[in-house]
Structure formats: structure tokens, C-alpha cells
Amino acid sequence: MRAEVSKIQDYAIIGNGRSAALISNRGSLDWLCWPRFDSASIFGAILDAKTGGYWSIRPAGAAKIRRQYIDNTNVLETTFSIGSGKMVVTDFMPVTSEEEKKRRLWPEHEIIRQIRCDEGETSIVVDFDPRLDYGGIVPKIKNAGKFGWRIDIGTNVFTLRSEVELVPSDGDGLSAKFTLKSGDVVAFSLTFSAEAPGVVPPLDKLATEKLNLTIDWWRQWAAQSNYHGPYERHVTRSALVLKLLSYAPSGAIVAAPTTSLPERIGGDLNWDYRFAWLRDASFTLHALFGLGYKDDAEAFVDWLLHATRLTRPELRVVYDVFGERPPPECELPQLRGHRGSRPVRIGNAAIEQVQLDIYGEVVEAVSHFTRKSRKLDRDMQKMLRQCAEYVCEHWYQPDNGMWEERDERRHYTHSRLMCWVALDRILDMQARGQLDGISIEKCKAERQRIREEIEMRAWNSNLGAYAQACGSHEIDASALLLAYHSFEDASSQRMRQTHERIRERLVPRLGLVYRNERSMNRHEGAFAVCSFWEADFLARGGKLSEARKVFEAALAYANDVDLFAEEIDPETGDALGNFPQGFTHLGVINAALALRDCEGGTVGFKS
């Protein structure tokens, strides 16, 4: 049992396109759900240091710590320097090509933690203390001799193997204390099997071989990017994060790999983000195509079509990785929450909400797809016709909006904007000869009505800005997206005024933007993606130098390995909310693309 609590930005992520683990800068693996992102946790100390479960590898004394990802990979290296000794812990989930997997047996899921002593001599302490089912089950760990240590739970088995002797600890886990000399390397492997007899890999050379294969695989993936522009290091890291958040068997991309990391420390704004939100669809496709990840973009569109098939013409706000309905939201009383932020929730009640913006997101995503890739097949055309029909019939209704407010439904400006986007892009595709069977006159008429509604009712002349909702007096950072989606030129009088109001009311300091005034009153942090929307907006408006300043100021809030959470505490700069957050990293990529394209003069307003 341990008492130390890490902050959200102290973590880094590793993964394999099916699940992910968070490892603190103290060498403690504090979050892991197997076999998929939304499975129950086996390590959950990030949500409760006492009962969540963890697996720590650290030197036996205070050490200077530095960590990094091996270049262009999701392989994490944490270096501990203590006196004359230096040890490096390399953490990764093995990944490789399908061809390689055909050559040799591979475990269903595996984490390898390899320790290398680079200098001097280092005493090392390992504590392995898993807690299954979100800290609810203290598992029995059985000694299986040459097959390591096993945890049998139902038909599932976890197997821990190591090259050093592990012994039962004072608590319920295992521990090891040993010394490594310069040049020594030892490895630990934790595997999981559910569907068949487990594959129990040997360590030693095979662990190093898997490390090399994993590094090669990530580098080859990263090399598919055609991005060569400003802030390339951050763009590449953001792309690698997105890849870690994608569920390879289906192509879905989850919003974040965690649940209930708080938007306010000690507060109750704790939600489960281990699902795929349609809200992120168009940003995702824009980023993937923008960087040249055509296969990943196509996989995402395939998931989009598959996931929405059963509910069309209505779309759900959120789906699980296989397009099913996420479980109902419930609280886990056994966990005390990250730094006391209760309750810990699993499942997400957003499933019950109405968000009209998602129709625009989906249509815009398909529109990116058709611009950059193949033609529209029959299924896509059918979905677009259904979306057009649905939007024409429902755009004027109130909804919960992109921020998923739970109090009441409103006529959100952003929802109107995205309904306009849906019809506009459908008409574009029709004009390009990619889509038929829609009522052109009706779509054009409704698109015009939505434009008039936004220009007349969402514009608040007293405020001198586009408001959060029609008839509202509140400001919302999502108004910046009116330019992103080409509804209005970023350099127009109205958009400049809207930006000024956002600066006055929602920007506590350069590089930080609250999403709206309500979130400020709730003492949430600044919403990280909004900073990148601001940089994007400024770039589109031709203010490139200012855009760079905002972009760089926002990047300064990333942690030491360039990862972002959902929000940033303006007072302390600490990360808040689920981590790492795909939406924020999409913002990084899309703003960098806008900067590159605007500097090259290839982005303009489509009138």
C-alpha cells in the first residue's frame, strides 16, 4: 500500500491499439484496463492510491527523474539518476506487423517493463499490487513456478513473469528488491488471456526483440505522415496519441483512455471518456487526412458507418468501440477519486442527450473523406440522405449542445452551425456529382433559414458577439468555429468582435481559453482545445504572428512528454480532466495544419 499521489500531468501513456496504460514519472503503472479501453481496471491507483492497485518500479532512494518517448514511438523511457547510478525503465505494449505475428505466438495482451542499468550500481524496488474490477477485488496471486505468477479470474488469466525473484509482499501483492550493475538488463512481462490458452513468452532476448519490433512499428507508422511544417514534434506526438486512442479491431477512436479524472480537483465533474464521440468526427478526419494517414482515416469512416447503422436517421452522441450503446452511468463507491475527487463514474449519461451538432460532424467527416479519398458508396449516400432529411426536420429544436450541459436544452449557436454545415456539405457533394436523391430546394431553403437564424438570433448586438445560444447573453469559445467551418470569414467585422469578447471574458492569460462563462463559474479549468481553436482562428484571419504566439503559449502547458489533458488549471498550469485527451490533440494538429496552410496561402474562406 502506498500514499504518494501523482498529478495528472505526471503521467505518460503506452498502448497497443486495444487498451492503454498510464505510467507516472515515479515509475508507477497506475491505470490499466484489459482487454479493452472500457474494461474494468486492474491498476487504478490514479483514482485511488490506496485501493486502486499499481505496479511500481523505482530505485530504492530519491532520484532525479527524466523521461521521454523514444523518437517517433509510443515507447516510454524513464531515467532515474541516483548518486553514481543511472537506470532506465523502458515501458511498452508490444506491437508489430501482422506478418510478424504469423511467425510466432503472440500473447493476446502484454506489457513489458524492461530495466537497464546504464551507469554504476542501482538498488531497485518493485511492487506489484493489482486490484481487479476497479479496486473491488483483491486477487489471489498464485505461484506458477516457471510460468511466473498467475491471477485466475473467471476464464481470464493474468500472468506476470520476471527475470528476478518476486516474493509475496506484506500486503496482498508481490515485491522484489535487487541490485543491477552497469550493463545489466532485466525485464518483466504481464500478459492477459481470455479467449484461449495463454501465451506465456520468455523474457531475455525476446523482450529486447519485441522492443525493437515495437520501435520499428511505431516509427514506420509515424513516417506515413506527410506533415512538414511548424511544431512538427508536437504534431507527431499528437498523431501518436490519436493512434493510441484508436481501437484497432474496429477503427473507433476513444475520447480518452481514462474515467473520472476531475475537471476540478476535489469536485464532482468526473466523467467516463473511454468511448467514441461523434462530436470529434470531423476534427478527426480533418487531422488524419491532413497528416496523410489515409488508412486510419478510412478505418474511422468505416467505423462511423458501422456504428451509426442501427440508429439512423437518429444518431447517438456516443458509442462504444464496437458501435454499441455504452453502459449506463453509475458510481464506484469503492474508489475515492483522483486526489479526493468523488464520485468515480463509469458509463456515460451523455447517451441520453440530444446533440444536433453531431449530424454536421458526421457529414463534414464524410465530406473530408470524399475530397481526399474514394467515391461515395451506396451506404454512405443513404446515410447522407438520412442526415439531410433529419436536419431539415429538426434543426430548429433545442439540444444539450456540444458541451453536454445537463440542466436544460437550449438553442445553441454551435448546434445551429453544425446543422448548417451538414446541409452545406451535402449540397456541395451533390454539386460535385457524388450524391443524388436529395431534395435540393429543400436543403437550400433550410440552409438559408439556419444562416438567417444564426445571423439574426445568435448575433447579440449588445454583446457585440455571436452568443452561446440564440437570444443568449453568454459568450462561448465554440463561436470561433464559425470561421473554422467556413460559415463566416475569420476577418469579418462580426468574427473579429466575437474574438475580442472571447479575449475579454474567457481568456485568463495568453494560451488559455475557458470554453464559456458557465464553466468559469463552476471553477473548471481552461479548456485546452479552445486555445488551439483560437490559434486556428487567428491564422485563418491572417494574423499569423499572433496565432503562433497563442499556439506556443498553449503548447507550453503540455507536460514533459508533450501530452495534454482536457483542461488546464489557469492558476497552477496543472492538467485537469481525462488524460491524454484526443480532442485536445486534434486541436494541436488542426491548428498546426491551419498555420502551415495559411503561411503557404492555401487556406481561404469559401464564400
Partner: protein
């Protein structure tokens, strides 16, 4: 119930490729079912009767044979299965079944007994001795 995935176990004799192993193993397991049914039929013919309970007894006997005789020698027969005594190697990484197949889950022996008994009941109930 159990991780004793017979198609996967049989298929990995021929290939380490997980998907291909399951496919090959499925056909092998299917063919095995037909072959073993001939043994059941032979027993019915020798005893001049075929009833559901007789099929159940033969199934039970086969299950006990599998659990106590076949599974313990599997690591020696399977080219990719690790041995209890020597542990895993680069080629032999597949977890061995252990006593009564308990390494594949605590319900493995029950699953094997139930599955073979049902197989015997079906054959005994529908086979007509001529």
C-alpha cells in the same frame, strides 16, 4: 467457462498465426467429432443397444480419458506448447493445460465432462442399432 479453446490448441500445432490456427483447428475439431462418433457407434454395435444414458456413460469415460491421459501428455505432443518442467521458450510459449486442464480455468474439468456427456447423449439418443 474455460479457456480450453480446442480449435486454437489444434490449429497452433500447424501455425502460430492466431486466426489461421483457429480456422485450421475448427476443421480438425469437426473432423475429430466425426471420427470419435465412429468409436461410439462401434460401442453401441458391440453392446447391441443405443440409449441416451449409454451414450452419456461412454461420453463420461471419454472425458475422463481426455482429462487424465490426453491433457498431461499434450506438452510432449504439441510443438508450440511450453513444458511445466522447463518453462516457456521462444518457440514453445503456449500455456500447458496442467492437472485436469485447470490452468485453462477452474471450470475446465466440468466443461470437458459436460461437453463429452452431451455429445454421448445425442449420439445414444439418435443412433439406431441394426
Amino acid at each position: 467457462m474455460t479457456r480450453m479453446n480446442i480449435p486454437y490448441l489444434l490449429g497452433t500445432i500447424f501455425t502460430p498465426d492466431r486466426d489461421r490456427a483457429k480456422l485450421i483447428g475448427f476443421f480438425l475439431h469437426f473432423a475429430n467429432g466425426w471420427l470419435f462418433s465412429l468409436v461410439y457407434v462401434a460401442a453401441f454395435q458391440i453392446l447391441h443397444k443405443a440409449t441416451w444414458w449409454l451414450g452419456a456413460i461412454i461420453g463420461l469415460v471419454q472425458a475422463i480419458f481426455v482429462l487424465t491421459m490426453t491433457l498431461p501428455v499434450l506438452p510432449a505432443l504439441h510443438p508450440r506448447m511450453a513444458d511445466e518442467q522447463y518453462g516457456p521458450t521462444v518457440v514453445r510459449q503456449l500455456e500447458p493445460p496442467g492437472f485436469l486442464g485447470l490452468h485453462y480455468g477452474i471450470r475446465t474439468p466440468i466443461s470437458v465432462l459436460v461437453a463429452h456427456t452431451i455429445f454421448g447423449i445425442i449420439l445414444g439418443a439418435f443412433y439406431v442399432v441394426k
